[in-house]
Symmetry: C2
Subunit: 448 residues, 2 copies
Amino acid sequence: MTMPTTDVKIDELSNEVASTKQLVVQKFGGSSVSDAEGIKRVAQRVVDAQKAGNEVVVVVSAMGDTTDELLDLAAQVTDSAPAREMDMLLSAGERISMALLAMAINKFGASAQSFTGSQAGMITDGIHGKARIIDVDPHRIRTALDKGHIAIVAGFQGMSRTTHEITTLGRGGSDTTAVALAAALEADVCEIYTDVDGIYTADPRVVSTAQKIDRISSEEMLELAASGAKILHLRCVEYARRFGVPLHVRSSFSQKEGTWVIPGAEEKFTIEEGVALEQPIISGVAHDRSEAKVTVVGVPDIPGKAAAIFQVIADAHSNIDMIVQNVSTHGTGRTDISFTLPIVEGADALTALRAAEGKIGFESIEYNENVGKLSLIGAGMRSHPGVSATFFKALSDAGINIDMISTSEIRISVVTSADALDDAVRAIHAAFELDGDSEATVYGGTGR
Amino acid sequence: MTMPTTDVKIDELSNEVASTKQLVVQKFGGSSVSDAEGIKRVAQRVVDAQKAGNEVVVVVSAMGDTTDELLDLAAQVTDSAPAREMDMLLSAGERISMALLAMAINKFGASAQSFTGSQAGMITDGIHGKARIIDVDPHRIRTALDKGHIAIVAGFQGMSRTTHEITTLGRGGSDTTAVALAAALEADVCEIYTDVDGIYTADPRVVSTAQKIDRISSEEMLELAASGAKILHLRCVEYARRFGVPLHVRSSFSQKEGTWVIPGAEEKFTIEEGVALEQPIISGVAHDRSEAKVTVVGVPDIPGKAAAIFQVIADAHSNIDMIVQNVSTHGTGRTDISFTLPIVEGADALTALRAAEGKIGFESIEYNENVGKLSLIGAGMRSHPGVSATFFKALSDAGINIDMISTSEIRISVVTSADALDDAVRAIHAAFELDGDSEATVYGGTGR
């Protein structure tokens, strides 16, 4: 009687297969699919991932210049396009790239089906141009995977729950699509393909000795992204952290491991890496030139005024970053409130503020786009006074003037003049001994 | 007491408004919206139609070269694109043109919203690339009109009922979208805008003295379209006839009246135009070089063989036009069956026939693309032997050889060699005294 032995073997085999078969979500940006050659290269990579035994879902952006070309057409027709129609127009871009990618994959002998945002179950609110995902119902994707297909999904787009209108997700939309699908499908990993090979300790265009980070916690990555590191968008990292999705940021041009972004893994890393638990771990230096500084001058120093200002900005759908309120001075009973926000949202925010001038009762508004933000990110920073001492001494030694300061548990940020920013980044990178021995690969652009 | 009088006046006024307010569906092809200037010109025309007091629904094709560009991209990626993905790709074209048109209309001070085929409720079967409309549920369009919007609808596309996949309607798809929407919305008229000013008694590129037809019945238009007149597609005319939708074919470059195609209106016209009731009314001469002639040689002359052949062709989704079966000759108990079908469907049909060779038991297949079809269309033709006598004498006098003959109540068609076709068209046009005094505008291309 050998039957029992055979049974055990089959069980072991099926267990093994079950444990190696992974569900992988791969996201490719516009620069990876900018032409037919790029699409075929991505297709081969996707097919390889399936052949390695994985279930594969691919999220794509629009091809290279498609979005710019569509925006240019719109500008030829009108200077005031309705947001609903702009979403309808731009969502055509992913439809083209995803269908072509599906065709290329089929050509390489695998089977692929493409899905629009609404077909993939990306349910959003109704704010055209910067919609938020409120639910994901990927049952058509799950069915396609069960039938052995590779599923190609349009990044950046969804459908509003109440009106069934087509929406786009705004900046970082495709990354966020990928992470949201990975969460809903309980994927093992969400791979973000880009034209650099991972996250660096600083922008290699500014700091030539910056080093690639092998692993970083979601929390630190969140601070890096919020502080201007362009490779991953803040929304995508926030989503991944909330739903526990491991991210793997890597190059679409090489097979090398990139940077793993692991939810809630700080302590584990600290122990694994063999670093003393009490030492602060500095992850990197980020910088950002995309924000403007707004100062609302002469705000009555009474409760509710700051809240009123930020409500006006929120109603204009602008995202405020740093906030500083000076103490009430000059014996006037008035104070100044400064904050930073994306330059692209500056005009709308100013218009909204001026419309509310009577209600809030401020004296004037100052607006400055010629500023830059530098952030140092690292775990356990707050409990180590030595970190901020080193930080501000380095800036002082380099002769850098500081406009605003903001700190969190794992971050110190300062606003400087835009011109001084590169020097500041190099000074901080060196002061915290992040410089590596070799020259880093230079960063490229990012997809939408 | 003047109250009653006032009441009556108000009633009269509202009656008048109700009677002049029409629901108009306008269809613009790709050549009308080939660039930003074209889109703005169409937008102005659409806005004018609404300002004149109408509810307006607009169906658009993809911009000028967009479809060719997308097909070229697909060809760079694969030589065997899955039909599902080709539909996904091509449907992006209308999404671009309709969003831009909606933007331009908004710029001109009216309010427009664009809708994809599935949003507009165009429900089709699941045959990708040549789907058939099986239902139209235009409730979102009706709602948009009720709110005072102009509704822009993507031509050429729909969604399959069972699988919810995106489909395209194939040749003549945009015209058919327009007529189907007009029928579902009970529109007063469906205007088909093109780059010529109406339907002519013959193709003006072949017959320079061809005249514009002011009014024609759906039945005659059906025969003209089926016989190769390129301005209106057969499907669109069939749909309009079945649902009683009046068509108005006109130029997007002028305000002139074009050709009205009126369902079931032959007799009324005959009386109105003051022509003697017993005279045949010749509408025009159509020709067609897009078909090939297939002869299945040596088919066993037993019941069911012809049906078997045509079932094979139908299963390959090919549309057979003319059919001629020779009498069984040579004492062989075998016969030849000839038919014509679109050249683009020739390869698939031949493959299907050859695969069925064993089952059907024919001897060989002859295939000839170098043929042309000429058709004379007119009401009351069958009951006037003089018509066919004049017809065949004119061809004989011009030295034209005839390959196949087919007739209907209001049409005579012959197949000739492609080289002889233009001479044949001119001979017939002159023989039936259709020549006008002035040179006609030359025909352009047609959209999809």
